[in-house]
């Protein structure tokens, strides 16, 4: 739609004198021309859909995904407070969950309302070895969501996830206090399970990291045209008798 609008505005700005002339001009500025003009005028190189740029972005992703994985695991090691929503009490109980520094064990336990995040050694707490974790489920697939058969609000469903462990009979049920915490933990648990992260936070953080990375990579190409297709590669040189020998220096 944007392109059609542009076809019309560009044609009008050249002040055609009749409808016929107008139609001809609009047709002349066909779709691909507009796209090319837009690319050179408005979009910066890192924003275009030029194949070499897209390819470079793909090559940059794995390293950035690794950063996100590290961030997730660090946050899990820092630990998070969760609420146990209880219909009986007036106040929800608090509990915490935290990954051990070596990433092998999840520690969790109850906390008093006004306590700071307890250290790994403190308190009576229980553990789940990461190796025993079978799966992570979310939303309506969670045991604690299935209990109240459709009585759960969408809000709660969007914050609920569970870890099933030890032959899938046991589950540790979570209700995150924010969608951010939900994304953090579901991503982090996916990493521990060797699965790909899938949260919307992960996708938006990847975009932020990727957009900066590509800009920096293309800094020295400012005002330099990037060919859409690879230039031809000449025949290999007839000899390798170079002027300079660096073999001594390299040793």
């Amino acid at each position: 739609m944007q392109v059609v609008r542009e076809q019309i505005t560009r044609t009008l700005s050249s002040k055609p004198t009749s409808l016929e002339l107008f139609k001809n001009k609009v047709n002349a500025l066909n779709y691909s021309e507009i796209l090319k003009l837009r690319q050179t005028e408005r979009l910066h190189q890192e924003e275009t859909l030029a194949p070499p740029v897209l390819e470079l972005k793909e090559r940059l992703k794995p390293e950035l995904l690794e950063l996100i994985r590290q961030q997730r695991l660090n946050r899990l090691c820092h630990g998070t407070l969760f609420r146990k929503i209880s219909s009986r009490r007036r106040q929800d109980k608090l509990w915490y969950c935290r990954l051990s520094p070596n990433h092998k064990v999840l520690h969790y336990g109850d906390v008093e309302e006004d306590m700071e995040m307890p250290s790994i050694e403190a308190l009576q707490e229980r553990v789940i070895p990461v190796a025993d974790i079978k799966n992570v489920v979310m939303g309506k697939d969670c045991p604690h969501m299935k209990e109240n058969k459709g009585k759960q609000t969408k809000e709660v469903l969007d914050l609920a996830f569970s870890i099933t462990y030890d032959v899938e009979e046991y589950s540790l049920n979570f209700i995150a206090s924010s969608r951010t915490d939900f994304c953090l933990w579901t991503d982090g648990l996916s990493v521990l399970l060797g699965k790909e992260m899938s949260s919307e936070s992960m996708r938006s953080e990847l975009e932020i990291l990727l957009s900066m990375e590509i800009k920096l990579r293309l800094l020295d190409l400012e005002n330099v045209p990037i060919p859409d297709t690879a230039p031809p590669i000449p025949k290999p040189p007839s000899n390798f008798n170079f002027c300079y020998d660096f073999s001594q220096a390299e040793q």
């Binding site: 961030q71 800009k215 800094l219 990037i226 230039p231 000449p234 290999p236 007839s238 390798f240």
Partner: protein
């Protein structure tokens, strides 16, 4: 035969080269190379990221930039001919990028977003300077803005 290059000293890679030739140098889009010598449509040189690795690559795969050469020969130093402030902004951005990613991993959210904002502003200001469309006054203004941001970052 291979001859040392006179004016072709610095290039920016416009197309990734997989190095699929004997003694070929693998190059990524956007990398900067120093060119030492040439022969039959090929250059021999190295990437500024990995100066110890020398190799050959097609001349058509790099866009040449003007350079200042000192101590011509095997151990020459080559510097791009550009406004020093551009060089400074470019290298500062690359340094800050490393820090910025660390801020992300360590979850220093506030600083992460602030630095990102400043980096984006610097990228934009640098772009404006390179556009060649600015008047003398505008150039002075832009440089002033750049300096302010560089100073902020160095805190």
């Amino acid at each position: 035969m291979w001859t040392p290059t006179e004016d072709e000293k610095i290039g920016v890679v416009v197309c990734s080269f997989r190095g699929s030739v004997s003694l070929g140098l693998t190059l990524e889009l956007g990398e900067t190379v120093h060119i030492l010598e040439k022969c039959e449509g090929w250059y021999r040189g190295f990437s500024t990221k990995k100066p110890s690795i020398k190799g050959i690559f097609p001349a058509g795969y790099v866009h040449l930039k003007k350079a200042v050469v000192t101590n011509r020969g095997q151990y020459e130093t080559v510097v791009p001919l550009e406004d020093p402030i551009i060089t400074e902004v470019t290298s500062t951005l690359q340094e800050w990028s490393v820090l910025w990613k660390q801020l992300y991993v360590k979850h220093k959210v506030d600083l992460f977003y602030k630095l990102r904002h400043v980096m984006n502003e610097l990228i934009d200001l640098r772009r404006q300077l390179l556009s060649g469309h600015l008047t003398q006054d505008q150039v002075r203004e832009v440089k002033r803005h750049i300096t302010v941001r560089l100073d902020w970052g160095n805190e």
